[in-house]
Symmetry: C2
Subunit: 239 residues, 2 copies
């Protein structure tokens, strides 16, 4: 994993500290080295360090306290409703298995259930489509459908998505970073397909999330629909 590919310094620092937290170098409750110490370590100045820390605060990795320091909060929980981490990193990888229901393939857009209008270009390109089932502790919890425009992503179709975060693949392989997005949440009743995949009975309430994610690549959006059995695993988020 190479860093420093023309990334601005504050992002480099952010990535390093972030990795340290998710790798357990810093544990929950620890206090990070002071900003001045981090300046020395990373050979930069406080505004740069602070910009990196701001981002970690915003995403919930740390909290800061004036006069005290930066307190490590651990890897943020939730399914990326607010933090931008993908599903994999959000709920913790320990007991999460990803099963591919439909392998990535090129097909026509399926606009049913899609809450957002497609752009003209996107419609022309066609669509890369796949479906995944996320299983936690042997219980299926998330069933999600992802669609993205079929722009030139070399070898994407043949990549193995199991146990890997889509966001990580996009970031490390294609230099595409998810920068934001919008979503609609609603409660629905499980239909036949969802009943089957999520192993619930008829009339079971399901959390339905319809998202459009925007990326660092101009005009490249991801569309995804997540169906969540929130009975055992409520969706958790900080903001």
């Amino acid at each position: 994993m190479r860093l420093n590919k023309n990334l601005p310094q504050y992002k480099v620092v952010y990535e390093i500290i972030r990795k340290h937290i998710s790798d357990g170098v810093y544990l929950k409750g620890d206090i990070l080295p002071s900003e001045n110490e981090l300046c020395a370590v990373h050979q930069t100045t406080r505004p740069t360090i602070r910009k990196a820390l701001d981002r970690l605060v915003h995403e919930g990795y740390i909290k800061k306290k004036q006069g005290k320091g930066s307190i490590v909060m651990g890897v943020p929980q939730g399914v990326g409703i607010l933090s931008l981490s993908g599903t994999t990193s959000a709920v913790g990888q320990e007991n999460l298995i990803t099963e591919i229901i439909v392998k990535p393939e090129i097909r026509q857009w399926d606009t049913t259930n899609l809450a957002y209008p497609l752009l003209n270009d996107e419609e022309e390109f066609g669509c890369i489509y796949f479906e995944r089932l996320r299983i936690m502790n042997k219980q299926p919890v998330f069933y999600d459908i992802t669609m993205m425009p079929n722009i030139n992503l070399r070898r994407f179709i043949s990549r193995n998505l199991e146990n890997k975060s889509l966001f990580n693949i996009l970031r490390t392989m294609y230099d595409i970073e998810v920068t934001g997005g919008e979503q609609r949440l609603m409660a629905i009743l499980a239909d036949k397909k969802i009943q089957e995949y999520l192993n619930v009975k008829e009339g079971h309430p399901i959390l339905h999330i319809n998202r459009k994610l925007e990326t660092s690549r101009e005009g490249f959006f991801l569309y995804s629909q997540v169906y969540c059995n929130s009975e055992k695993y409520a969706i958790f988020g900080t903001f």
Copy 2:
């Protein structure tokens, strides 16, 4: 409405521009004055202006484009899942009516359905409790229960919450700002009480949000539970 009560400059600037956007001084699609122009207007420097703009970007009021400028996006939508605006400002005030089901009163904490453990102090103080129903276009959409510790909030019990944002009252009357929080979302089936208030039939799926909000006052948290009929109004958020 007085500003500049020892607020840092970047927050003052943030509040001014934010108000201009929500008041329609800047409309969706407009381009804000350049950072240098804003420096001149507010008699400050770029880092300060940029810090104010960063916050507006983060909350979805504007987007920035290098070489172009800051594009106004309008008042962010959603019910404060991600932005910190309260329900009132989030869905637009036009057709929103707030009905008080239970007026603010001091009572014991009701810990059923509360997803977060209470702190010792909070339990001792007792609790200010109220229930509200939010009606949009004559349809009840949100039913929410709010509990907060009964610390010294002068005259809060007798305040009229109708058509006023709780967040605004806290901010303007008590100088308490909501700074963040956490929440759990899940889909449930409407129980008898919810069926009645939200006017839905038995077995109707409902979005249940359990939140703990933290404020600028150390140790003062708000607890709220929101039940949302997401059939007509999906919850919308940007991040």
